[in-house]
């Protein structure tokens, strides 16, 4: 291809034609514009007059220039100019196009596919066999070489994956073919990349396509000092960059929305950035993920699991603290243990219950007021966790002595016991190992934890089940009872160090964690995960979108413990028995590195400029120039002024104003249709049918106006293709045998109309000759029309349908013909008639269609002079039938506009009965 600057020409020899332009100039210049012949009787007066000037016998220079430009544009256009011509790469033999296919390439995936498409086109020119492979999604068997155009068809199936390639080098090493490689890289380094490069180089030449592009990854958020720390890393570290981080979660209405947004700035040259988010606990617990705003990549999304959730714990102590004795406060150790991992709430019990905390701790509280106790019980039954600690007050009270208190897990013996004190026998008791049923199983009880006093549980048949920790002598230390959805736990010692050294030990904190009073550390370790199976709840794709993971198989805990996403462990949210775990693309200390290529590898950027064929544009320009030339020539020749000028001006105006006029027309239509209630009829294209429908709706509108409070305006014909349907509550559609089917767009409009509560009344107007469903031409046409419509199941109008009583009481629905075959949306099958009630209780929506063939419009139709246009029946009976037809029309419009209001009125007697009237 011969090129001139950025423009190449497919047929440069044609450009020689440009040399002919000067000749054309001379030729055109010599020819004056042709004269017009006019018949004009006044010519007698002109005889003998001579022209003053003689200049216009030559074409003016600017018109010449215009024509030459047009000709030049044609010549250049046919020479096949191409902007940014791509020189074909050529090459022979097999070709493998390798894509990294990781999440880092997701934002520019389309550009990569375009690049692959271009490469495939070139390969098609060079007759090469090609395979396109994504490293994250390698086939299991051989390299699937195929013709390039076949790959072009399959290209859209290639999708990036939200993980890094595994060990593609091994896979390629196992293949025996030789091939050239085009490697479309995402720009991120990954483990095994250099191995793969070496392997590929043994197969043939390697060319790398890579665009220098910054990749940003969002690290999992962590909780520190009451604020959420969000950090991100990037590569390559470049100039200072501002990004925003959005925290997304469910709002109280259950709708996912951004809950908070914070800016984050990468300092120039820094690879990492950090920002802090301070959120109220209520909001914080709602966060499900963080995103870097505006980046479509899995690396820019960080899912949160339970790690960020902080439980709200309310602490209530029975006694006021004695001033100055901080260490003796029943709540001191609880505060110390819980404050790093939970949000503590203080206050009175009523206030606390309003805040609906996760846990309420009652430390040595014996007596609760009746209302408080009831409210607390309700809270527990709704899923709250009540943690009680014993103490002198509990021991001294009669709570739970004779019967089991609903707010205590066990009955208590009065007084409790003390061991190992100065006045008692025995030694302080140590803890027994935790049994496998206990939530504390796995914790080791330190030997230095001793108990000197405790409250004792009354032996009961249920006691053994409720003990979750005991002392070495078998007496219960912690008991638990499930109530409703919640649980009540009693620790039989005090929450301070008065009765035992438990609060002083690390075990106390661990036990609180196990009881889910405080939040656990974020990542469970491998031993904890071993043997468990986790269910993928939500799965992240490479673009950072969350999909439902319900159909994916469960994942073994061991795999989860590694935390590296891969084909078997897509990043996402995994649910275990009692908690959720997030697997993110970027881990806590994942480092992003830019891919470095050795100097021997040729690296090409992505084709920034695409080939643009200029031929079409040039030929269009030539055409426009010629149009201008026509107008200019007419002007020169005097044909624009003169007797026919108005025609030319009108044509020009028509061209200029036509679209605008159409828009104005649509506006006028909308204004007309919405200023009043307007009944619409569908234009069938048959003038007579349309006129009758118009007249029919006019008659119905008049009847409505006279008899009801509906005062419709003049009816409008509706062109399904052009007009908006949403303005009409009701459309009458006379079906003719030869009307065209609506277009796809029109069907979309119709279905939207039907779903949004509009009603269409189909009238096949053939009830005199055909019954519903029999094959009249109109019936078949109706079937064809309705095939693509969203019409529900139908039934003949039942005798208790709301149409029979929405204004008049009717049982027949005649039009010009009196057939009973009128069909409406079927009532739900589970509605049965209640004994003694005249109607079934049908409170469904307005029927979207009424289908019949009674030619209602003809019965309703009035001419412009107010006379009925068509006879109905004979004599008085006929007039009666017309009256019923009009009443049916009134009922239909009432039904459309008031819905099942009349159906609801069925309940009025009941309501009056209940009101005692």
């Amino acid at each position: 291809m011969w090129s001139l600057g950025p423009v190449g020409f497919a047929a440069p020899w044609l450009l020689l034609g440009l040399t002919a332009l000067p000749i054309l100039w001379i030729l055109l210049r010599a020819v004056p514009p042709a004269p017009i012949r006019r018949r004009f009787p006044g010519v007698a007066l002109l005889l003998g007059l001579s022209d003053d000037e003689t200049q216009s016998d030559r074409t003016p220079w600017w018109l010449l220039l215009l024509r030459l430009l047009a000709v030049a544009a044609v010549i250049v256009g046919f020479a096949g100019p191409v902007l940014n011509p791509q020189n074909a790469r050529g090459g022979t033999g097999n070709l493998v196009i390798v894509l990294d296919g990781t999440w880092a390439g997701a934002p520019t995936w389309q550009a990569k596919l375009d690049q692959v498409d271009t490469l495939l086109s070139e390969a098609a020119l060079a007759n090469r066999r090609v395979a396109v492979l994504s490293l994250t999604d390698l086939p299991t068997d051989d390299i699937p070489f195929a013709a390039p155009n076949e790959w072009q068809n399959r290209l859209l199936n290639l999708q990036p994956r939200p993980w890094q390639p595994g060990t593609p080098a091994d896979w390629f090493a196992g293949r025996t073919d030789t091939f050239e490689t085009y490697w479309i890289a995402d720009g991120l380094d990954w483990e095994g990349r250099s191995d793969l490069l070496v392997t590929l180089e043994t197969k043939g030449a390697v060319t790398v396509f890579q665009t220098p592009r910054q990749t940003i990854g969002l690290r999992p958020a962590r909780f520190e000092d009451g604020q959420i720390i969000v950090s991100a890393t990037r590569t390559p570290a470049g100039n200072a960059t501002d990004t925003t981080i959005t925290a997304i979660g469910l709002d109280p209405a259950g709708v996912e929305r951004p809950l908070a947004t914070v800016p984050m700035t990468f300092a120039a040259g820094d690879a990492a950035a950090e920002t802090a988010m301070v959120l109220p606990a209520e909001l914080r617990n709602r966060i499900t993920r963080f995103e870097i705003t505006g980046t479509r990549s899995a690396g820019a999304v960080s899912l949160t699991d339970d790690a960020l959730k902080r439980r709200e714990v309310a602490l209530i102590a029975g006694t006021d603290n004695r001033e100055g004795l901080e260490l003796l406060s029943p709540l001191y150790y609880l505060r110390e243990a819980l404050s790093p991992t939970a949000d503590l709430i203080d206050g009175t019990l009523e206030d606390i219950l309003l805040a609906n905390p996760d846990v309420i701790v009652l430390a040595d509280v014996a007596n609760l007021a009746g209302a408080e106790s009831d409210a607390l019980l309700t809270w527990v039954e709704n899923g709250g966790m009540l943690l009680r600690f014993a103490g002198p007050r509990l021991a001294a009270s009669d709570l739970g002595r004779m019967t089991e208190d609903p707010l205590l897990p066990v009955r208590l013996r009065s007084g409790g016991r003390s061991v190992g004190g100065a006045m008692s026998w025995g030694k302080p008791k140590t803890l027994a190992p935790f049994s496998p049923d206990s939530p504390f199983f796995g914790l080791t009880a330190p030997v230095d934890v001793t108990v000197t006093s405790q409250v004792m549980a009354q032996p009961d048949p249920t006691l053994a089940d409720r003990v979750i920790a005991g002392l070495a002598d078998g007496t219960p230390l912690v008991t638990r009872k499930f109530t409703g959805a919640g649980q009540i736990v009693l620790v039989h010692v005090t929450a301070n160090a008065e009765w035992s050294s438990l609060p002083l030990s690390g075990l106390f904190v661990q036990m609180l964690e196990r009881l889910a009073v405080s939040t656990r550390p974020a990542t469970p370790d491998a031993t904890e995960l071993a043997g468990t199976t986790w269910r993928p709840n939500k799965v992240l794709d490479a673009y950072g979108r969350l999909d439902d993971g319900g159909t994916l198989p469960g994942v073994a805990g061991a795999l989860l413990a590694k935390g590296t996403p891969g084909p078997t462990l897509p990043p996402g949210l995994y649910a275990g028995s009692d908690r959720q775990l997030a697997i993110n693309v970027i881990g806590k200390d994942t480092m992003l590195n830019a891919a470095e290529w050795p100097a021997r590898i040729a690296i090409e950027g992505m084709a920034a400029a695409r080939e643009t064929a200029l031929k079409g544009g040039l030929l269009t320009a030539a055409l426009l120039l010629l149009v201008v030339d026509i107008i200019a020539s007419l002007a020169i020749g005097g044909r624009l002024r003169g007797p026919r000028a108005d025609v030319a001006a009108a044509l020009a105006l028509l061209f200029l104003w036509a679209p605008d006029a159409q828009a104005q027309q649509a506006d006028a239509f909308a204004l007309r249709a919405t200023s009043e209630v307007i009944l619409g009829h569908v234009l069938t294209g048959d003038t007579q049918t349309d006129d009758i429908a118009q007249a029919g709706l006019r008659g119905l509108s008049q009847t409505l106006f006279r008899r009801t409070s509906i005062e419709p305006g003049a009816p409008l014909g509706v062109d399904l293709e052009r007009d908006e349907l949403a303005f009409f509550p009701f459309l009458y559609w006379p079906v003719t045998a030869d009307q065209p089917l609506p277009s796809r767009d029109a069907y979309t409009k119709l279905n939207r109309y039907l779903r949004s509560g509009g009603m269409i009344m189909f009238d096949t107007r053939d009830a005199d000759t055909a019954r519903f469903g029999s094959g009249s031409p109109e019936g078949r046409k109706l079937q064809a029309i309705a095939r693509s419509l969203d019409i529900p199941a139908l039934e003949p109008v039942p005798s208790d349908h709301v149409l029979t009583r929405s204004f008049y009481l009717l049982q027949d629905f005649p039009g010009r013909y009196a057939s009973r075959d009128v069909w409406v949306e079927a009532a739900p099958t589970d509605v049965t008639q209640i004994e003694g009630m005249p109607f079934r209780n049908l409170n469904d929506g307005v029927t979207p269609v009424i289908i019949g063939g009674n030619d209602w419009a003809s019965a309703w139709a009035v001419g412009p002079n107010g006379n009925r246009m068509f006879p109905v029946g004979r004599g008085t009976a006929g007039e009666r039938q017309r009256e019923i037809a009009l009443r049916f029309g009134v009922n239909v419009i009432m039904h459309v506009l008031t819905g099942n209001y009349k159906s609801d009125q069925v309940h009025i007697p009941d309501l009056l009965d209940r009101l005692g009237q």
Binding site: P32, P33, A34, P35, I36, R37, R38, R39, F40, P41, G42, V43, A44, L45, L46, L47, L49, D51, D52, E53, T54, S56, D57, I636, G637, G638, R639, R641, G642, P643, A645
Partner: protein, 289 residues
């Protein structure tokens, strides 16, 4: 144009006007009975005056009702009423068939309609109407109108028409309708001959709006209707001014001619309402000079 259509058009145009009574001064020699009061006693139907009976009056002419109121005998005189003769000439040459717009009538159609409407009014008023050139001598009655419509509907092949001054009765009235775009000499001759014989009348110039406006531009070849006369110009727009000057000069000459011979002159455009022109004709033929 078909004679019947022409007749009906003309009837429509003439319908709203009162019967046209042309002035009948100096018609003593055309002793044809007509309906024009001469403001003197004579033969007629209308009461003029009572005068004392003279000896030569026949007894049967005495008005006994008047005479009974006094001692003398009275005779009732009638007003002397006579009919006027009007001769029409309508240009039927090819130049009259021109129209610039399909919505406008040709000049010929407008001229014929006007002339025939005039004739209808005159005949209703009891006048005698005929065509120049001995083709149709003045007569009254519906049959005359039919004949006239037939003759007027004929077209002439020549480019420009010239009036024929033959057959004009002395002291009668005449109406010439043409575009007067051809040679003016025959018109002048005809008018002078008419003036010699004491004939008064009206000249109605019927022009197309385009002929008045000359809205042409660019390189143009103008041709007469039969194509015999042609003129080529390269910038028709430049000619407009001079054309309009010439047209104005022609109208001036016609007006001058009319004034010297005691005629009326008026220009009518086919774009205007025909009724206006008819009103003017009504006035012009009624005028006493």
């Amino acid at each position: 144009m078909k004679p019947l259509a022409l007749r009906s058009n003309a009837e429509t145009l003439a319908a709203p006007l009162p019967a046209l009574l042309a002035d009948a001064e100096h018609l003593a020699t055309t002793v044809l009975l007509g309906d024009h009061g001469r403001r003197r006693a004579g033969v007629g139907d209308t009461f003029w005056q009572y005068r004392p009976a003279q000896p030569h009056d026949a007894a049967r002419s005495i008005d006994w009702r008047r005479s009974a109121r006094s001692d003398a005998s009275f005779v009732q005189d009638k007003e002397w009423q006579i009919a006027q003769s009007i001769i029409l000439w309508v240009d039927q040459a090819a130049s009259m068939t021109f129209t610039s717009d399909d919505n406008l009538p040709t000049k010929a159609a407008r001229a014929r309609t006007l002339a025939l409407a005039c004739a209808i009014l005159l005949i209703r008023g009891g006048e005698r109407v005929g065509l120049t050139g001995l083709r149709l001598p003045p007569r009254r009655g519906e049959a005359q109108l039919m004949q006239m419509a037939g003759l007027l509907s004929q077209d002439d092949a020549t480019d420009y028409g010239a009036p024929d001054a033959q057959g004009m009765l002395p002291h009668s009235r005449a109406l010439f309708v043409s575009d007067f775009l051809g040679d003016l000499q025959p018109v002048e001759d005809a008018l002078l001959r008419a003036a010699d014989r004491g004939v008064r009348g009206a000249l109605l110039q019927v022009l197309d709006p385009q002929e008045e406006a000359f809205p042409f531009d660019g390189r143009t070849i103008f041709e007469s209707m039969s194509g015999t006369v042609r003129h080529e110009t390269r910038k028709a727009g430049d000619l407009k001014h001079r054309y309009l000057e010439r047209l104005a000069a022609r109208k001036d000459r016609l007006r001058h001619l009319a004034r010297t011979t005691g005629w009326q002159f008026q220009t009518h455009h086919t774009g205007q309402s025909a009724a206006n022109a008819l009103l003017w004709l009504f006035g012009a033929l009624e005028r006493r000079t």
